[in-house]
Symmetry: D2
Subunit: 368 residues, 4 copies
Amino acid sequence: MAGSIFGTILKISTWGESHGKAVGVTIDGCPSGIRLEESHIQQWLDRRKPGQSKFTTKRKEEDRAEILSGVFEGKTTGTPIAIVIHNTDQRSRDYSEIASYYRPGHADYTFDAKYGFRDYRGGGRSSGRETIGRVAGGAVAARILERAGIDLYAYTKEIASVSIDAGNFSREAIMENPLYMPDREAAKKAQEALEKRMEGQDSAGGIIECVIRNVPAGLGDPVFGKLDARLAAAIFSIGAVKGFEIGDGFQAARSRGSENNDSFCIRADGSVGKKTNHAGGILGGISDGADIIFRAAVKPTPSICAPQQTVNRAGEEITAVIKGRHDPVIVPRAVVVVEAMAALVIADELLLNMGTRIDDVEKFYRRR
Amino acid sequence: MAGSIFGTILKISTWGESHGKAVGVTIDGCPSGIRLEESHIQQWLDRRKPGQSKFTTKRKEEDRAEILSGVFEGKTTGTPIAIVIHNTDQRSRDYSEIASYYRPGHADYTFDAKYGFRDYRGGGRSSGRETIGRVAGGAVAARILERAGIDLYAYTKEIASVSIDAGNFSREAIMENPLYMPDREAAKKAQEALEKRMEGQDSAGGIIECVIRNVPAGLGDPVFGKLDARLAAAIFSIGAVKGFEIGDGFQAARSRGSENNDSFCIRADGSVGKKTNHAGGILGGISDGADIIFRAAVKPTPSICAPQQTVNRAGEEITAVIKGRHDPVIVPRAVVVVEAMAALVIADELLLNMGTRIDDVEKFYRRR
Amino acid sequence: MAGSIFGTILKISTWGESHGKAVGVTIDGCPSGIRLEESHIQQWLDRRKPGQSKFTTKRKEEDRAEILSGVFEGKTTGTPIAIVIHNTDQRSRDYSEIASYYRPGHADYTFDAKYGFRDYRGGGRSSGRETIGRVAGGAVAARILERAGIDLYAYTKEIASVSIDAGNFSREAIMENPLYMPDREAAKKAQEALEKRMEGQDSAGGIIECVIRNVPAGLGDPVFGKLDARLAAAIFSIGAVKGFEIGDGFQAARSRGSENNDSFCIRADGSVGKKTNHAGGILGGISDGADIIFRAAVKPTPSICAPQQTVNRAGEEITAVIKGRHDPVIVPRAVVVVEAMAALVIADELLLNMGTRIDDVEKFYRRR
Amino acid sequence: MAGSIFGTILKISTWGESHGKAVGVTIDGCPSGIRLEESHIQQWLDRRKPGQSKFTTKRKEEDRAEILSGVFEGKTTGTPIAIVIHNTDQRSRDYSEIASYYRPGHADYTFDAKYGFRDYRGGGRSSGRETIGRVAGGAVAARILERAGIDLYAYTKEIASVSIDAGNFSREAIMENPLYMPDREAAKKAQEALEKRMEGQDSAGGIIECVIRNVPAGLGDPVFGKLDARLAAAIFSIGAVKGFEIGDGFQAARSRGSENNDSFCIRADGSVGKKTNHAGGILGGISDGADIIFRAAVKPTPSICAPQQTVNRAGEEITAVIKGRHDPVIVPRAVVVVEAMAALVIADELLLNMGTRIDDVEKFYRRR
C-alpha cells in the first residue's frame, strides 16, 4: 500500500533510503505564484542537519536541495515540485552483521516481517534520513502559511526529564543553543543530563512543543477530518513519536469541566476570543482562532552503545553491540520535522476550506 | 471538504445530527461472506447507550440498528452496508436560547465560524450521537477481526484522577460496573469522586486504554501510513479526545534507551517475540506481533450545570447556564467508540496488507 | 475495496440493491448555505422513474426522496446530507431460477466470480436502481452549479441508429417526448424502430449527449486529474456505457490538425474565445471556457424476451428465457443519470479549483 | 489540487516539464520482491523515444532511466521507487514569441487561465515529455502483471483514416514498422497518407487498441470503481485522447441486445467462458475472464507548420507560425503510453482485489 504520500489537496510524496543514491520529495497541489528558491528549502534542511553539536551524529550530511521541476522564473507553476537531495556520505562499510540480526527498538524486524527482506544499510527507509523529504515539503508549505499570515514554530520542551515552562521566551531563544530549548538554564541542565547518558552508553528522549499563531477560525472538517486528528496523524507518522496531545492534553483528563472550559469573550476589535486556551486552539475538530498548541513525546534513541539482547535471522538469541554514529537524543533534530509536518497539515487545510460556504463559491466564480 | 468518510479499502461514511430524523453509517469495502445480523450491531450500540446508570444522561435513546443493504441471506455481499438508527427521543423543546450563544468547550462557535450557521439543536453534528455511526461500523469491522483471529477490547483506565494499573484482570471484569473500570476498588472510588463532581455542578474526564491481541506482525505502511499514525488519527477524531499515546507513550520520553528498547527473543514455537513491550506492539509504524496497547485522554464533559461566562451572537459577554441532560463524564460511553475506531483501522490494514509481497500476489492469482 | 464512493471534495456514497429495503446516498463535502428541499431531489428522480411510457418498464417505483440529515432551516449545513428512497415495489416472486444461471450481458457471472455469491433478486447492486443514489446526489450538485452560473443538460442523441444533429433546439424540446430526443421527426422514427425491436423480442441502445455551458476556464488538474478524464470515469461508471468521447471524439482521430485545432479569437467583451469547438471545451485537461460537450454510448438492454444460451451454476449449458419487466432501451432513463454524474464532477472541480493561485488564497484569508 | 498522482494501492506520482532539468516518477505501493533493473524501464522508454523514424520528431532525447530508491539487491523493497530521467536536449532557444501567444489545440491558454502564468518552454508540464514518468511507472506495473500471468499489449489500429482489422497477427508484427501497425499493407498506406499530410503542412490522428489477456474474472469494484471506468480515466488522462471505448464501444449503441449479449458457455476445462466478446471482457464493471479490449481515439498533432489564427496575451488577434520539431502524428509514440496506463490500472486492481472475500482474508492471516 502506498504509504509515502501525505495530504489531500496539497500532497507530498517522499522517497529514499538512508544509504541509497538520494532522497527526495515531490510536492503536488501547491498553489501557483509562490516565490520559491532552493535557499528557502535549504534553510529548513540545515536545521535538521547532523554534525552541529556533540549531541548529534558526526556524519557529515551535506543535504543540498535541488529543485528539478515545478518552479519557473522563480515562482511555483502549480505543477509538481520535485526536490532531490543526493546522499553524499554513504560510507561503504560492512553491513553483513547488522543484516543478520534485529536491532531492539528499530524497525529491522517489522520490515522483514512485512516485506520478506529489507534494505539493512543504515536502516534503509526507516532511517531518520527519510525525514529530509518531509522537511523539504514543509519548507514549501511554510511559504503558503506566510502568505496567509500564519506563524508556526516548534521547540524542545523537555529532554532527559529536564523540562521548561510554556512561559515567556523570544523566538530567537530557540535557536540559541544546539538543543533548541529556549531557556538557558534548562538547556544547560539538559546538556549535562545528556552527557551523563552518553557516559553510560545510553540515550534520552524528550518532548517537542509546537505553536501555530494566527490560524483563522474554521479550519478542520468534522468528524474524521478534525484538525487535531490530522495533526495527530502527521506528527505520529514521524519515527520515534510515542505520544501526541493538544492543549492541556493528558492533563485535561484530570481536570474539571469548570477549569477546562475556555470562556468566550469579546476582544477589543469586537471579535470573539477566549479568556484561556486549555483546548489548544481547536474545538470540535475546528480551529477556534486561538493559538494551536500541541506536544509530541519522542522516545530515547534506540541505537545505544551498550550491549543488547536480541535475535538473529537464524533464530538464535544473541548479544549484539550496535556500531556506527548515532545521536544520543533525536529531539533537537526532530523539532524541524515537527514544524514541517504541522505546516503541511495547516497549508492543506487552508486550501481545503475555501469552498466551505456556497456564498464564497459563488463570489469566487461570479467575480471572474 | 468531505470529512465524514474514514478508511482506505474498508470505508465508513457516517451522517446524522443529534436532533435530526436519524443517524447512520454506510460501510463500503467490506469483504463478502461475513455472517452479519442486526443483533451483532445492536450489541455494540447498547454499550454506548445512555441511561444505564446515574453517570450517564437520562435520555432514553433506543438506538435500534436497521440494516438496509449489503446483506443477503445473512451474509455480507461485498457491496455497501447501510445502517440507519432513527432518532426517537427528539424532545421538541425551545432551542432559541442555546442558538443565541456559544457554549464554552463545545463546537458551537467553531461551527458558526466555519459554516456561517449551525444546527444548534443538541449540538447537531458535533453531538455525541454522531458516534453511533462509528460504533455500528466498528461492529462490522469487529466481525472481520474475529475471522482473522484478532482480539480487541478497551476499558476505563482512569476517571477523575482515580487510576488503575494495567495489571491482571479478566475481560469480564470490564463489564461488571457502569464505568467499565475493571477493578472493583478503583471503580468504587471513581464513582465517589464522580458524585462529588456532580454535587459541585462539575464534570470529570479520564483515560481509556485499548488492547489488541494477536495482531500479525507486518501491518502498517511506512512512512505516513504508520499503524500508530492511523490509530492516532482514528482515536483523535473522537470528540473530547485531547491526547493519544502508544506503549509507554509520554513516559517513554523520560526513559532511557536501555530501558525503553524491547529485547527480541525466540518463543517456544520458534517465532520471534519480545521480552517486554514498551513499544506497545508497533515498531517503525509496523505491528511487531506483540499486543498493541494505546491510551486516549478524554477531557471533562463541557456541559456543566454551573453558570459560565461566554458571548452571544449579538457580540455581548453574558453568563449562561446550560440546561438539558448531560453525562458528568463521557469516558464510559466512549470506551466502545474507541473500540470501534480501533477495529476499523485494524480491519482496513488487514485488507491493505495482503498484496505487500509479490509472492503472495502470484500465489493468489495463479492458484485460481 | 470501497467502490461506491465518488468525488474528491464533494463526495457521494451510494448504497442499496434492487430488491432490498431501500436505496440511498450520502453527500459529504457539500458547501453550507444552499437552499435544499426534498422537491429539488424529487424533480430529478422523477425523470429517471420508470413506467412513464411504453418504452420503460411497467414497474411502479415511487422513489420518494427523504432527506435525513445535513439540512437545517431549509439550508445545507455543510455536514453530510443523507437521502433515503424506500423500495416500495419489491414483488415477492420466485427468484430461484434466475439465481441458478447467468444472464448474458448482465453482471450475474462477474459478481459471483468476484464475491463468491450474489444478491440475485433483480440484479441486486448491479441493477439500474443503483443509479437512484447518483441522481439524488446529482440533484444536490446541480444546486451548486446554479449558484456558479453553470448550465448543464443532456439528451438522447441516438436510439436504434436513429440519430439527430447537434443543431438548434430549445431546452424544452428535450422534455417533449418520452425519449428525451429533441427532434420531433427523429423521435417518431426512433419510437417506430423501438417498437419493431420489441416485436422482435429484442432491444436497442443509443447515444446520450451532454452540454455544459458557462464553465469557467481553468477547471481540471493536469495530468491525471484532467477534467475530461474525470468526466470519462464518471460516465463510464454508469452501467451499460461502452464508449465516451468529448468534442469531435472518435471523429477527431480522422481529422487533420488544421481542421481540428480551434482558433482563438477575442470576443466582444475583450475576453479570449474560440471560433470553433472541436475540442469540446477542454484543452490539456483544463476547461477552456467553451461549452463542454461529450457523448456516451449505451449498449442495448441485455434483458430481452428471446431465448438465450447460457450456463448455470451447476456448470451446464442451458437455454434460458428471462422473465420480468424490462425497458427495451435504457437510454431515455439514463439521460438524467448522465446529467447527475456530470454535475457531480463539475461541482467537485469548482471546489477543488479555488486554491489554485496563491493570490486567491491570500485574499481569501487576509480579508477575514 | 494534486493531479499528478494516480492509483489507489499502487500509486505513481509524476513530475517534470519539457525543458526543466529532469522528469520522473515515484512508484509507491509496489509489492516487495520483484526483480527490477533499470533495463526493464529502459525498454519501455525506448519505445516512446522520438527520432526513430521520419514520423517522429528529430529531437534526440536520450531518456536514460535512473533508479534512485526502492530497489535493493536487485529486488523491490516495498518502499517508494524513485526514477529520474534527466533532460539532455534542452536547446536554449528563444521562447519569447511562443510565450506571447496561445497555440491552437494546445494547453497554453488553459494553463494561463488556471494558474495565472505558465512554463512556456516547449509546453512545460503539458508537453508529451510528461508521459515519460507514466511509461516508467507502467514498466514497473508490467512486472507485477507478468507475475500474475497477465499479458498486455497495444498497437496502432488506425492512422489518417487508414485502419486495420482486429484480425489475426503476431505480437512481433507490431514492432515491425515505425507506426506499430501490425499489418504491412495498411502500414504502408498509412505512411503514404502521413507523408501527404506533412507535405500539406498538416498532421494526423488515429486510434490505438489495447488487448489484455488472462485477466482473472473478478477485478473491478461496483459501482464507481468499475474496471472500465478506471481504464477510461487512465487512458483519458493521456494528452490528445478524445475518445475511449471498450469491446464494441460506440458500435454497441447501434447493435441489438440479441447480437450484443455474449452467450456464456462451458470451456473444455470446465470453467465458464463466453462464445463472443462484444463486452470487451468487462461486465457490470468487473472483468469476466475474456480478453479486455479497448480503443483510444487520438487527435491530430496540434503543432502544424501551416500558419494559424490565434490571439496573444496582449489581447490581439494574430496569425502565428509554430516553429520547432514536432511529430506529424503522435499515435505510434502514444502506444506505449496506453500500455503503461493500462498496466498501472490492472496491477492496482490485482492488489485491491485480494481482500474481497472474507474466506481469503482468513486463510491469508491464519496460515501465517
